[in-house]
């Protein structure tokens, strides 16, 4: 039976109500938080459901891994609350609809998932991917669908995800190296939370990169640079992978600058928030985030998620910080060139 496995007894014992008290946008005291959370658990109306920015962070804050965010999304959908305008949601639902267009490269036991992000066509090249080059799945038929967590549509996820998992399974894939946290989080957190069985082993690409760099031994040179790391919303679904950022950085001589908005207190790219809540909040988040990078003396802003890249690369560059995807950062360390770059946009008139 596919459905959210949410254990309300865990919430009864919870002292901190961290899902709401640690929320970066709500500023709730513990009592209010407890009251509102209980309403959500009980399926009653709560202003939290309207106010939620869908930043995913409460998934990480819950010490019991009880999936508070998935419950919020369930409740939003049940109550017809739209975290974003309806046409935006419609656009997303339509654009990722499976239509039988299977984009598959060389079929192998170990394959890369490009999710639905064309950036990886640019990023995946060179020595780091010698072993896996060409063994790729991409597009609607392999799209993890986690994005609908932003749009109060877990129903789309539960409807499509089993088939997506089956599509990947049918290829005979044993290990799926996920290049996007959204996929990794789907297969390691979202699918189990809904009782969807995953017949392959999801591997986070950080782990893959780390092992590749280890394998390349002395060809890896220390970059000796300071970088701010831009955490993305979906990394909240798999917070254990954050440590791998530090591991990779230490291999390639990158200092992760200490700053206010990193680790558990990271700010997301805010473009989803712009679409849902409007420009004032989004602009404020982006400004605080980038100012913080500047203040911390970062030379680079290292991206994990291509969507964050789309949102912020241009903006950090304007502040004199070099944007780079973590795959490209690893390439720099082995003497290869950065492949994902900002388009040199001349003003077209």
């Amino acid at each position: 039976m596919i459905g959210l496995k949410f254990d309300k007894t865990k919430c009864v014992d919870c002292k901190g109500v961290f899902c709401l008290t640690r929320c970066q946008y709500l500023q709730l005291d513990r009592d209010t938080a407890r009251k509102e959370w209980q309403k959500i658990v009980d399926g009653e109306d709560s202003f939290v459901l309207e106010a939620c920015t869908t930043c995913y962070a409460c998934e990480e804050y819950c010490p019991f891994h009880n999936h508070p965010f998935y419950l919020i999304v369930e409740r939003q959908e049940q109550k017809g609350i739209l975290p974003a305008p309806r046409p935006i949601i419609t656009m997303w639902i339509n654009q990722c609809q499976p239509v039988g267009r299977f984009t598959v490269g060389k079929v192998d036991e170990r394959m890369l998932s490009y999710c639905f992000l064309p950036h990886f066509n640019t990023l995946v090249k060179g020595k780091l991917f010698d072993d896996t080059a060409g063994a790729v799945v991409f597009g609607q038929e392999f799209f993890c669908n986690a994005v609908y967590l932003h749009y109060a549509h877990t129903s789309v996820i539960t409807e499509r995800l089993p088939q997506i998992v089956a599509n990947i399974g049918k290829l005979g894939v044993r290990e799926l190296i996920c290049l996007h946290d959204e996929c990794y989080g789907t297969f390691t957190s979202l699918a189990p939370a809904y009782g969807i069985e995953v017949p392959f082993k999801p591997v986070h690409y950080f782990e893959y990169l780390y092992n590749r760099l280890k394998g390349l031994g002395k060809t890896v040179k220390k970059l000796d640079v300071k970088a701010a790391y831009q955490r993305n919303c979906s990394s909240r679904l798999a917070p254990e992978t954050d440590k791998l950022v530090d591991d990779i950085f230490s291999l390639i001589g990158v200092e992760r600058v200490k700053r206010e908005y990193d680790k558990e207190n990271a700010l997301c790219c805010a473009e989803i928030i712009r679409m849902g809540k409007g420009p004032a909040l989004a602009d404020d988040i982006q400004k605080r985030n980038i100012d913080d990078m500047v203040k911390a003396g970062a030379e680079y802003c290292v991206f994990n998620c291509p969507a964050c890249w789309d949102a912020l690369a241009d903006k950090v560059a304007r502040k004199g910080i070099k944007p780079v995807h973590i795959i490209d950062l690893c390439k720099l360390a082995i003497g290869e060139a950065q492949s994902l770059k900002l388009p040199e946009l001349a003003v077209e008139v």
Binding site: R86, T90, M91, Q95, M275, G278, P279, W309
Partner: protein, 463 residues
């Protein structure tokens, strides 16, 4: 009647041997355009280089009563330069110079065959703070032909039709005289096509070359700001579109507004995409305009009826490029190399009705459709396109697309729209609906200017 050979020789004398053809191949190509109108072959294709050569060709044609059709790139798609009665096609594209830019009076003078692409490039290189209203036709479209068909470009919202931006003409009349129209008829400046004189430009603009051949054209230029951005608004409620357009226009901050609707790729299905272009000389200016646009539809945003899509710089690039290659790509969505659209000029309140008609007709004739609408003036009207793509290798599909277009045109006319760049059949429909006294006035003008009826016959032909 002199022989074909003699005419050929005369044409060779005028433009030189290399630039006259009566060969099967040129006749074949110039007999048709990329659209769905039936072909008709010319007897000759000539490529003049000067106004004097054009005059000579016209005099010859007038003397021998041979039809003559001035042609740009043939991109109207409605067969406006198909020589319906044979004769001489005058391909103007060797007359391709940019003659003068007056920076302080903000106009340019181009020759009769200068392409939109060449003008864009010239201004970018030599006068980067000036621009013209670039249409989304391919860059091979000529400036003159686009003005003659009342084309619209990227500045249509602010400044109207491209023909509104004409600031002077040099025309070879059907009887061979060269005539200047506008301020340039009494002054060396080309700043006005009419005012404060009687505006004679109307004798040529919109006439599809049936009253003369434009050999030079003055065009107004407009400030070109340093920065440009596009905001993409989505709604799924068709009935809101006219009001959204008026609100955007009310800001007086928007340079260009284009609405697109199409069922494929899937991301477009079920929503209307409103591309809103803004410009600025600084980030602050752009930011202010962005805020104005948000504010204009804020209540629709709160009611969740209108959203803004976040777009990366890379995603914006094709929307910002001028002309838009995506417009042309529509021709090959079905791997078939063809599309045509009926583009009625209509009040914006008609948007919902026209969309419904488009969907209905596409389903009825089983053809793939799309629509790109451009706001003209401050909401004074819009060009609504009923676009159908077809496979050029599938005659049945082409016939269905043509029937779909005809039905949409008829519907639009009944709804109070006026057909844009109408084909010869649509011209007849318009003239049937036209005030008889207006039609009579047109007839008198045509007879006066072109007594032998040699100019692009078949078009605007009043019985």
């Amino acid at each position: 009647m002199v022989t074909t050979n003699a005419i050929h020789e005369s044409l060779v004398k005028i433009v030189g041997k290399s630039y006259v053809s009566a060969s099967r191949e040129e006749k074949y190509f110039y007999a048709r355009d990329g659209g769905l109108m039936p072909p008709h072959e010319p007897d000759f294709v000539v490529l003049p280089r000067t106004t004097e050569e054009v005059q000579e060709i016209v005099r010859l044609a007038n003397r021998e009563k041979i039809p003559i059709v001035p042609a740009g790139a043939g991109l109207a798609l409605t067969g406006l330069v198909i020589p319906q009665k044979g004769g001489i096609v005058v391909d103007m594209k060797r007359m391709d110079r940019v003659l003068e830019v007056n920076e302080k009076a903000r106009y340019v003078i181009v020759e009769g065959g200068t392409t939109q692409g060449a003008l864009k490039s010239y201004l970018q290189k030599h006068h980067p703070h000036l621009r013209h209203s670039i249409p989304d036709a391919p860059p091979s479209a000529t400036v003159v032909a686009n003005a003659v068909i009342h084309g619209q470009g990227r500045l249509a919202h602010q400044h109207g039709f491209n023909s509104d931006m004409v600031s002077g003409l040099e025309v070879v009349l059907p009887t061979g005289e060269v005539c200047r129209i506008g301020s340039c008829s009494v002054s060396s400046y080309w700043f006005s096509k009419g005012p404060p004189l009687p505006d004679l430009s109307g004798l040529f603009l919109g006439w599809f070359g049936t009253t003369g051949i434009i050999t030079k054209l003055g065009l107004k230029l407009y400030p070109c700001k340093k920065l440009r951005d596009v905001m993409v608004l989505l709604t799924d409620k068709v009935e809101l579109v006219p009001d959204i357009l008026l609100r955007l226009s009310h800001t007086e901050m928007v340079e260009d507004t284009v609405i697109s609707a199409q069922p494929l790729p899937l991301r477009f299905r079920g929503t209307f995409w409103i591309m809103t272009y803004i410009t600025g000389d600084s980030d602050e200016e752009l930011e202010f305009k962005r805020k104005m646009v948000w504010d204009a539809v804020w209540d629709y945003f709160q009611s969740r009826d209108v959203g803004f899509i976040s777009t990366s710089p890379e995603g914006k690039a094709p929307l910002l490029s001028m002309p838009s290659k995506d417009t042309t790509r529509f021709a090959d969505v079905a791997k078939g190399g063809g599309f045509q659209y009926a583009g009625p000029i209509t009040p914006i309140e008609k948007f919902p009705a026209f969309i419904r008609k488009l969907e209905e007709v596409a389903a009825k004739y089983n053809v793939f459709y799309g629509s790109t609408t451009r706001l003209i003036g401050s909401g004074h009207c819009m060009m609504f396109s009923f676009s159908f793509s077809f496979n050029r290798a599938n005659p049945d599909e082409m016939a269905r697309a043509k029937r779909a277009l005809d039905e949409c045109s008829k519907f639009a006319l009944e709804e109070g729209a006026v057909l844009w760049k109408p084909d010869v059949d649509e011209q007849k429909m318009i003239m049937e609906k036209m005030d008889p006294n207006t039609l009579e006035l047109m007839r008198k003008i045509k007879r006066l200017l072109d007594p032998n009826g040699i100019m692009n016959p078949g078009n605007w032909e009043m019985r």
